[in-house]
Symmetry: C2
Subunit: 265 residues, 2 copies
């Protein structure tokens, strides 16, 4: 399981203020908390479109100097993605994200061709979010074809079927699970990624929903997750779900995480 | 989702002592806690084989008088099952369980023919517990054939693929999930039941494992669960998982459970 720490995102107020003020101490503290909790990647979003490219450069340089894990360069702007990929040197960066929306797709593909990187393929098209399992699969297949055509390998692609609030659409979460299972059968080497902060929107006791959905998605084949690794119970749910999905021999990762104090809720 | 409260089981020391002493206050208190927490059935096990039949009669009479929910008559002894079914009048009783072990199967089928009841079909044969998905399906198909031959309807059957500790067999939990999904495709009207106290045996932070497995099983189609409905987080996980599996229109059950204070962890 690849855990992508979501918190260094300047579309959030506190991060935006810290980026604006070039408050490196605060940004590094948020990074350190996620790294120590168990993040494998740090997501980096530069926020304010007018300053996104320079914000991204500043953030990537800052985080690169301090942490030994790769970054997930998060933007819909190809220039911001390019500036991030250019500076990110640790490990294999991830791009978050390309989508099947024509303009975004066409502007992003040349950048993705230029750099060796993983890429989140967000299943959103100009017709809007996908409906049902087959529509999700069709959108993903379109993206896979385009990305492979641009030189990406299949195991560099992290399909994201878009998490919608279950309060708004009660069929969407399970359709996402089934789409993951089906597309994995078609492309055994592909990866699946999901952000966890959206599914419980509008409901009470959001943690129950987030954890149950994490467990279900992992059961159906999710192997990368964009989340707050410090959210109570999140890491424990991930390790437990991996063991139950038959992806943790002798439960060694679960037991190690327990010894390291990562399972506490 | 049918929630079967597991606690009135005289193979447990405190319940055994209370049954031996005919301490009806204690038994009713354990029953009430489960009913108030949201149990749809109360499991009843008479314990000590030498006194199981009379214990079962005493328990069933006691619980029938007090609670308005049906009982799950739990024994491997057909005489104990018969004594329970004879006295249990509220709703449609459940029998827990028949198995594919030849002796148990042959001794239990005549009792099941005699009474209108639901039945847990435990996928355990004389060759021991099932291995892999296909073996689970084959054992279940054998039981379904025998039960239907004895007059049971397909929707009276609750297949239990046997929950094993993930610490001992890392493939078993996921095989159980896949078997549920596959058998549901073959028999859309069948039900699936699982006990939740076993999967986390031998591991720390058992609650994480129990909750993640509950979420995964419900995602794959589980619709009855034998558990302690008072275990912290258990009811919340069940309601959240049902909503995420597309089985709770407008999340009404989840929201109602929240208003009734059942979601608290």
């Amino acid at each position: 399981m690849i855990i992508i720490g979501e918190k260094i995102n300047a579309t959030r107020k506190k991060i935006a203020a810290a980026v604006e003020a070039r408050d490196s101490d605060y940004i590094l503290q948020v990074g350190r908390e996620q790294v120590e909790a168990g993040a494998d990647y740090l997501d980096v979003n530069g926020g304010d479109p007018a300053k996104e490219v320079e914000n991204m450069s500043w953030l990537v340089e800052l985080l690169q100097k301090e942490f030994q894990i790769p970054l997930c360069i998060d933007s819909a702007n190809p220039e911001a993605i390019k500036s991030g990929l250019e500076l990110a040197k640790t490990g294999k960066s991830m791009v978050n994200s390309i989508s099947a929306e024509k303009e975004r797709l066409e502007s992003m593909l040349p950048v993705l061709s230029e750099y060796t990187c993983n890429v989140v393929a967000l299943c959103m098209s100009d017709e809007g979010p996908p409906k049902g399992v087959d529509d999700r699969i069709a959108t993903a297949e379109n993206l896979i074809e385009k990305l492979c055509g641009a030189g990406k390998k299949i195991d560099e692609i992290y399909v994201d079927f878009c998490v919608f609030p279950v309060s708004a659409d009660q069929d969407a979460p399970h359709a996402m699970c089934l789409a993951i299972q089906k597309l994995r059968e078609m492309h055994p080497e592909i990866h699946f990624c999901a952000g966890m902060s959206n599914v419980s929107y509008g409901l009470p006791e959001r943690r129950l929903i987030n954890q149950a959905f994490t467990a279900q998605l992992i059961g159906f084949g999710l192997d990368a997750i964009i989340c707050d690794p410090n959210a109570p119970g999140m890491l424990g749910t991930i390790y437990a779900s991996e063991a139950l999905a038959g992806r943790d021999e002798f439960c060694m990762n679960y037991l190690t995480a327990h010894r390291e104090g990562k399972l506490k809720s």
